[in-house]
Subunit: 339 residues, 2 copies
């Protein structure tokens, strides 16, 4: 019989269709043909992007010129823009607001490379430092209330450019789904127990073991109990940390290792699947402490978000997370000592 | 500058990226190759589906034999199943529940036909009658709390079988997104104004005119103010109706006309796009009156639900609904008199 499971943080249900128990080889192939080599993100073609916002580059090299190893530019087709007045306007039952915020692209390497896990681990650290730098810079703008770092990979993951990159969108309103997690999940649980629901979740995962994927010095990777997608994997700081922007150098090294190792295993097991990588962190510039526990969510996109999911926010997942975690644990990769 | 708009019912925001103003020809082609002709939904192959639950068929013909014109069967890979005990079980921070419910497939015609709008209008009426019959039958099961009728069309819409069909999933828990609409949207608005937010929305749409698509005797079709998807279209009963299951014969005729006409126009304008059609109705078997206003939502799937949407529940829509509605209004189809 199928089983329903509830996400303890936001209250959403998933259906674990364990009868189907889809293993990696049961999903249709998602291998993609390489796209045009005409790539505006490659080193030497800096003039084809909007002027850079921030780059890690060799001393003495010019802005918007070669010599960088991680480079952030505005999205050419921004969802939200930094210049203008933030103004809300009501019209009968409707509210509208000027689209103030930011939409940036973080180009992870000047080489035309497609997959995140092909970066050396030191490069992954630099990418995480860039997330942190851009996050902290945008958080200084009082108009910004939430900063979403994310990565779309592969066609089914929504990537329109093949060259490996992440994005960052800063919004002037805390998204409803984030408020739901913060108010209904974190706050309600804390009022009842005095503890953080994510911290308790990790205690339980470490005792049960069956959904664990990897452990590093500062981070834990596991397939969540109420996984919406096959092989969904979360990476959480082992100690309670509210704000991604406050990540330490030690934590960056630890995160780089576990993130690269997780993606290596997902790529090996699922043949370079399409996915979304999503940062969940606290709202910024709000006059109260949400007590959130920041984390990363990796959502492989091997199943479709269709009518049922859009209508009910239930997800149907044909791969039990215990099976996914076991497969990911048993995929041996020797990437050197963990951090 | 992009504009943010809020859905007055559930509080979610969308970004209307009006600079891009994507018109129908700007979207990548979604035309699909016909798939295998080996179709288990075609008339004459009834033994290839699970035994039928209900069918409209010629007098004297047998169950699971030819002679039907609309036929409902269990989904071969059900998300939820009707037989078993509904039991919830807690385990530390987690809750799980047996997957009790129903998952049915409504085969809209015995002919191998791909598109909904190719049905004669009388056939559309029969399909709506089948929705109602199955809806009312399942609502009699006290374990069922929500009934989701939906249709996935095209690969990007999540359809795995080409032969035109809808689905119905009945769940033992009211989905969180439905509770959000009912409690936060409907109930809060009613406490403030004494009125239904959907009714007030229609008054405003009929005054403004610029998002209207079509009007029938009992229904209004318009592109919603906070459209998440390009050419998103909602169809609402013009008078306050809580429960889809109570739809009248007159309303069925009117809905069949406006639904078929809307799909004809979408198919013409967007070259048979992939889409989801989703019924939103009241929860069932709950001890209070949610005062919902049932309606249908058509979501063309020309843009991707990716990392930003998954992380924030903001949607980015490159086609302003006023532009979409104008294009749909001006596409002239002569389908006979409206109902």
């Amino acid at each position: 019989m199928p089983e329903m499971r509830q996400n303890p943080v936001n209250g959403q249900w998933v259906v674990i269709a364990a009868e189907r128990a889809m293993r990696p080889q049961d999903f249709p192939a998602t291998r993609e043909e390489p796209r045009v080599s005409d790539c505006p993100f490659c080193g030497g073609r800096e003039e084809e992007t909007p002027p850079e916002i921030w780059a890690y580059r060799q001393a003495g090299t010019d802005r918007d010129a070669p010599g960088w190893w991680v480079r952030t530019v505005p999205n050419k087709y921004p969802a939200l823009v930094p210049d203008g007045i933030l103004a809300e306007h009501n019209e009968g039952v409707y509210s509208r607001m000027t689209g103030i915020g930011a939409h940036e692209v973080i180009i992870e390497t000047p080489r035309h490379q497609v997959h995140f896990h092909e970066h050396p681990v030191g490069q992954v650290e630099e990418i995480i430092r860039m997330w942190r730098d851009r996050y902290c810079d945008l958080a200084r703008d009082y108009r910004i209330k939430y900063i979403q770092v994310f990565k779309n990979h592969g066609r089914e993951g929504g990537a329109s450019i093949e060259h490996t990159h992440c994005q960052l969108i800063a919004t002037p309103v805390v998204p409803k789904s984030v408020m739901d997690e913060v108010v209904h999940g974190i706050e309600r649980y804390r009022q009842t127990t005095g503890r953080c629901v994510f911290c308790d979740m990790m205690v339980q995962e470490q005792a049960a073991q069956d959904r664990l994927v990897l452990e590093a010095e500062h981070f834990l990777a596991f397939c969540p109990f109420a996984s919406r997608f096959p092989f969904e994997t979360w990476i959480l700081p082992k100690h309670h940390k509210t704000d991604f922007g406050a990540i330490s150098e030690d934590e960056i090294k630890s995160l780089a290792w576990i993130l690269r190792e997780t993606f290596t295993r997902l790529a090996q097991v699922l043949n370079n699947p399409p996915y979304n990588l999503i940062l969940h962190s606290s709202p910024v510039n709000i006059p109260w402490d949400p007590g959130y526990h920041w984390h990363l969510e990796i959502l492989p996109r091997l199943t479709r978000v269709a009518g049922f999911e859009m209508g009910t926010d239930y997800y149907i997942n044909p791969t039990p997370p215990e099976m996914a975690a076991k497969i990911l644990r048993e995929t041996i990769e020797d990437l050197g000592p963990s951090h």
